[in-house]
């Protein structure tokens, strides 16, 4: 009967949306490192811990008033709630019951409540004995009045900070990753301390003329000596004692260097991911950025231009040397494979990236990255480089918005130079924006001075601009000559004097940068109607 009630209840919880929602909420609050709520909660907890430690320090020399007692109660309440909530979140008890029940049902054996219960308790015990849970508990326990003696353990609250700060957490992760080495070392050190304590106790006991009064003194002396600190408050007097000291100091040097090397090695291993984390952190400060996959010559050129324009970007490349070169230029860079989903997600393909540039030297890699990016984000602007003509189509199929062939463009320029060097210079000037001259676009904003204006009245000569044409999707213009279909719009080359501009038309003009900027500002201002 009891079994049935419990199983029924488990199914009830599974179906209960309210329960799932609440659990999700607390998961976001406490454990989900991607949720905003957790970062607020962490900050709040850090303040709370610092406050309670402040009162602890204050209470050493002063007596606390009632308000601070209340605060202490409040802190403890929060701590206990947090501890219990984390325990609750650690495993889904009702799911475990259902799983066991269904398994038993499927295998046609009797559902044993006791066994299931044992499993559940086992799981919860694993939580209780996890590193952070122990620290949480130690931070709570001293407040229990009969355990006031453990008040000093309140300092463990500071350890609670581990939970809320990422960098401290990484440090503890490093230690955990070297668990095996550290435990070996600890056992070795334990032996050493044990043997030397006994030896020094025997040689230097007060009864034989030494300074060691009891075993605790011997232990204290061993630790001070093995760590090569050597306060000198207890010094060996007998020959035997000195021999023990010499041996222990030498062994201590070994232990210390071993310990240092373990920590250094562990940090070295972790350093790369630490750096990457920092890069991602820095990246998350930008609202819009561009992902450059491949830092070859093309990637470098693009990065240089983007940097000049103060646009944010991140570089992903597999080659270590290229990443070093990128970091040398103070670019954000990650050494990884850009075709791996998680790398692109970390680089912000769905969180702020506006464009992805596939500029690796290999068409195969470019197609693969393009495909991956398109799959991850259906709307992002993907520009890819194709070294071979046949790859162009594949890249478009893979989802690239634009494909560029370095050799095609270069070949065009090379050919253009023959016979028409001046035209070549013109194209180059326009392409590269030389001498501050560039071809640029001006959008006709609604109600601006351009709206419904005839080309004849544009006064371009005075503005020192050359009008090349107008881009528009407006059907009104279709009757004009010289229209060229470009994607889903038309480009009207050299429009006639009576061509009437409509809103959202785009003027293509050639001119110096400041003339264009000035004109643009005028258009913007006039559209505000001031």
């Amino acid at each position: 009967m009891l079994t049935r009630i419990i199983v029924y209840f488990a199914y009830f919880l599974k179906r209960n949306k309210h329960h799932t929602k609440t659990k999700q909420f607390f998961y976001n609050l406490l454990e989900n490192s991607e949720s905003k709520m957790k970062s607020y909660f962490d900050a709040f907890m850090i303040c709370l811990v610092m406050l309670s430690v402040f009162f602890l320090v204050y209470s050493v020399e002063h007596t606390l008033n009632e308000a601070s007692e209340w605060l202490e109660q409040f802190v403890i309440f929060i701590f206990i709630t947090e501890y219990l909530l984390r325990g609750w979140l650690y495993s889904d008890t009702h799911r475990m019951i259902i799983k066991e029940y269904e398994k038993a049902d499927y295998l046609n054996i009797k559902f044993s409540l006791f066994k299931t219960f044992k499993k559940i308790v086992g799981k919860k015990l694993r939580y209780i004995f996890s590193f952070f849970a122990i620290i949480d508990l130690l931070a709570i326990l001293p407040s229990y009045r009969p355990l006031r003696i453990l008040r000093v353990l309140l300092i463990f609250r500071l350890f609670k900070l581990f939970r809320y700060s990422n960098s401290i957490k990484i440090f503890s992760d490093v230690l955990v990753s070297k668990q095996f080495e550290l435990i070996t070392l600890a056992i070795f050190m334990g032996f050493l301390v044990f043997i030397s304590s006994i030896a020094i106790y025997l040689f230097e006991n007060i009864s034989v003329g030494g300074h060691i009064r009891h075993l605790y003194d011997a232990f204290y002396w061993s630790i001070v000596t093995i760590s090569t600190v050597g306060y000198g408050d207890i010094t060996p007097q007998t020959t035997g004692g000195r021999l023990v000291t010499v041996t222990l100091i030498l062994a201590g040097l070994g232990v210390l260097s071993f310990f240092t090397s373990i920590i250094v090695a562990a940090f070295n291993d972790k350093m790369d991911s630490l750096r990457d984390n920092r890069t991602y952190d820095e990246l998350s400060r930008y609202k819009r950025h561009i992902i450059i996959c491949g830092f070859g010559r093309v990637g470098q050129e693009v990065a240089k231009q983007l940097k000049k324009d103060k646009l944010a970007f991140i570089i992903i490349d597999q080659d270590k040397n290229k990443i070093i070169a990128a970091k040398h230029e103070q670019y954000l860079a990650i050494q990884d494979d850009a075709s791996i989903n998680s790398v692109l997600i970390n680089a912000g393909i769905n969180t702020g990236a506006t464009a992805i540039l596939c500029t690796t030297g290999s068409d195969v890699a470019n197609v693969y990255i393009t495909l991956t990016s398109r799959y991850l984000n259906p709307t992002i602007n993907i520009i890819s480089r194709a070294n071979r003509k046949d790859s162009e189509k594949k890249l478009y199929q893979a989802g690239a918005n634009n494909v560029i062939q370095p050799f095609e463009t270069a070949g065009l320029l090379a050919a253009g130079f023959i016979g028409q060097p001046a035209a070549f210079e013109a194209i180059r000037g326009i392409l590269h924006g030389q001498k501050n001259i560039s071809m640029d676009t001006l959008i006709v904003s609604p109600n601006s001075l351009l709206d419904k204006l005839k080309i004849d009245n544009l006064d371009l000569e005075k503005r020192k601009l050359t009008l090349i044409g107008v881009i528009s999707s407006n059907k009104k213009h279709l009757k004009h000559r010289n229209s060229y279909q470009v994607k889903n719009q038309h480009f009207y080359f050299n429009p006639e004097k009576y061509f009437e501009l409509q809103e959202q038309d785009i003027l293509v003009v050639l001119g110096r940068k400041y003339s264009i900027d000035y004109f643009q500002d005028q258009i913007k201002q006039s559209s505000l109607g001031l």
Partner: protein, 231 residues
């Protein structure tokens, strides 16, 4: 008169460059040592010659120093291109040398070796990608029109002798009204050989030999060429 062009090295770049050139007006020879590449080039219908560019005798034998006007140095290594440029320049001081560059540092060396024009495909590609991000609209227009897919070209027109344009001013041209052409710039021989954009800042006096760079449909360009040669 046909231009005589020698292309050293057969690869993507040479293929693209050659196919953009007007085969009728130019006589093109591809020089390559790799027999498989030669076969590929011949398959496309190009004239080829298997020669080692390292020897001056070979270079002279294909006509450098005599009737060759232009050479393309499209060899795979920067060092080879520098070597070729240096050798060719030593044979013929008037030769037009266009070289491709792999690493940016090599471009200065190529200029020092005597190349007239340096092409850096990676830089051009990088620039283009950047343009696509910054001015997507603009780049599409350029791609679709000027770069081939539509009949809109940038052309340069040399003012011939006894042209009606001789001794007129650039502001009087009014090409956009009279000819449906947009004037981009000019090489005013009085001011040197540099290409200057015309933006209404300065009025240029046009003389015989000056070059006007215009943008427009090829029909109009040809018509304009005809007009100005007519007296």
């Amino acid at each position: 008169m046909k231009n005589k062009i020698v292309v050293f090295g057969y690869n993507h770049l040479s293929f693209n460059a050659i196919s953009r050139l007007d085969q009728q007006q130019q006589e093109i020879v591809v020089v390559e040592t790799d027999s498989t590449l030669i076969a590929l080039a011949e398959e496309k219908g190009f004239n080829t010659k298997a020669l080692d560019f390292r020897s001056d005798e070979n270079l002279k034998s294909i006509g450098i120093g005599q009737d060759i006007d232009i050479i393309f140095c499209f060899l795979p290594n920067d060092s080879e291109n520098v070597f070729l440029t240096l050798s060719a320049r030593a044979i013929d001081t008037k030769l037009e040398i266009i070289a491709v560059v792999e690493s940016p540092q090599a471009s200065e060396k190529l200029i020092a070796a005597g190349a007239n024009k340096i092409i850096n495909p990676y830089q051009i590609c990088g620039q283009k990608i950047y343009e696509l991000i910054k001015k997507p609209c603009m780049t599409h227009i350029m791609d679709h029109t000027v770069f081939g897919r539509h009949d809109l070209h940038i052309a340069e027109i040399i003012i011939p002798e006894d042209s009606p344009l001789d001794n007129t001013y650039s502001s009087e041209l009014m090409l956009n009204e009279k000819q449906n052409l947009v004037i981009l710039g000019i090489v005013d021989k009085e001011l040197g050989d540099d290409f200057l954009f015309i933006l209404g800042e300065k009025d240029h006096k046009l003389d015989t030999g000056d070059i006007i760079v215009v943008l427009g449909p090829s029909r109009e360009i040809n018509a304009f060429k005809k007009d100005i040669s007519h007296v």
